[in-house]
Symmetry: C2
DNA sequence: TTGCTCTTGTTATCACAATCACATAGTATA
DNA sequence: TATACTATGTGATTGTGATAACAAGAGCAA
């Protein structure tokens, strides 16, 4: 039923797991594996097989009952729906310690490519980290428009975040990932998320602390 | 009703937000603010005030109707329940680019303190980053036991992660935050979580891609 | 064709989380 | 003391996600 069509709203949690499924499929493909089962994906991603099947079912019916999924065609179909086709270009603002670690990380991970980095420190401008050049802030708008980049990562101190966000939004960025812990104001059509290692560590502390003591 | 006692199970989502509430309260306290309302916390943390009240209510009744919350006593009470008392000691394995960015980050954030870092690279051992000394892996067990550390952050390449996890678990670590994207095997009483910038970026790509096209 | 095996896709259920709306209980004022 | 006012705490409701269980479909063999 409803081949190649998909539910209009896909749960956030499903979309988060799709990241791992697709990586997993690419890795199977690279190894030359042609047919896989939901259980194989599940094991490799650390989830249950029933969740894998449910998640995939939001996008359509891709498997063969009794057999499993054809790795290549499953990848093709999903790439046809989520139109990234493996290549995801992003920019980075703030080429400090954290920023350069992220550039290096992305150079090891073929999915996301940091096509340009930006920094306000003149001494850093024009340096190249792992093939990514650092530009002055004044070039954000030009490069974003030229390369049609939609996503930006921000790795600068909290105090400067909102002013940089305003520049990014004006330049046409549609999603921002911030590594600084400060609320951000953006128009409704811009997605924002936050990632912070220490918040997660504190959360783990709280969890441990509340575990035994009632 | 039930003053100073709290529900046996506090939702994960609530615990995650508590991290931000407590930071927010500390910051109000530092500014000399003595009385606040759920709305103030909500604004500063980017959530709704009804959620703040509900979250706090899992721990007890701390506010005064018609007035609000006393910042100092609310902090004291929560610190009495979540027994971290502001000081949260952790260790870090992998003092590379990412690892040193995290050490620096924690030195700017008084809550989590990285009391020791570990690296297998002999050239890095005994160096000091922002007051945190780097030790060889062989000293993990001794230092973890001596300093009674319960939480570890791992910032090394995926290939080595499981072997390091085994050492950590043996040393008595009860929660692990990994920055490498590979499933980890631990006993049931050890908490594990993952943080990854690029996964979050890919998730944002998927979200954007699925937005307009149906 | 029938029957057997296998794994998918889906349904039904349960668990968890967010949100609303307001009774409640305190303060402030006169 | 009465009255108005204010922000909390919570019960009820809605929404969202996870899980288990199984019917449905495909392949295969005789
Ligand atoms: N979320 C996390 O998990 C996490 C982890 C580590 C650090 N951090 C935070 O990320 C931020 C950066 O950390 P870091 O270790 O890379 O610091 P850093 O000082 O090494 O680098 C910051 C860089 O940002 C640049 N910069 C500052 N203001 C700028 C602006 N307005 N526009 C463009 N560039 C600007 C600086 O020139 C510098 O190169 C800090 O606020 C830190 O607390 C977050
Ligand atoms: N999750 C994220 O958001 C994120 C971001 C950036 C990088 N990363 C990942 O984190 C890892 C580290 O990144 P990096 O930029 O710091 O790399 P890096 O090479 O600069 O540092 C890695 C460090 O780990 C040490 N190390 C390696 N194996 C070890 C072992 N078995 N025991 C102890 N120490 C060991 C190395 O000596 C080195 O100092 C990489 O796998 C990278 O892909 C994750």
């Amino acid at each position: 039923m409803m081949k190649n069509s998909f539910k209009s709203v896909i749960p956030e949690t499903t979309l988060r797991r799709m990241v791992y499924y697709i990586r997993c499929l690419n890795s199977f493909k690279k190894e030359g594996v042609e047919l896989i089962q939901s259980e194989d994906i599940a094991k490799k991603c650390g989830v249950k097989s029933s969740i894998v099947r449910k998640d995939l079912s939001y996008f359509g019916e891709f498997g063969v009952r009794g057999k499993g999924y054809d790795v290549a065609s499953l990848l093709d179909t999903i790439n046809g729906i989520i139109k990234t086709f493996g290549q995801m270009n992003a920019i980075l603002v703030g080429a400090g310690k954290l920023g350069s670690a992220i550039i290096k990380h992305s150079s090891e991970n073929f999915n996301v490519k940091i096509v340009a980095a930006f920094d306000k420190d003149k001494r850093k401008v024009n340096k190249i980290i792992e093939e990514t050049r650092i530009y002055p802030l004044s070039e954000i708008e030009g490069i974003v428009r030229e390369k049609k980049v939609k996503i930006a990562i921000i790795a600068i101190p909290p105090s400067d975040v909102q002013s940089v966000v305003d520049i990014l939004v004006k330049a046409g960025i549609k999603a921002i990932l911030s590594l600084a812990l400060i609320p951000i104001n953006v128009p409704d059509d811009v997605e924002v998320s936050f990632v912070d290692v220490l918040s997660e560590v504190e959360f783990l502390f709280y969890k441990l602390s509340l575990r035994r003591n009632r």
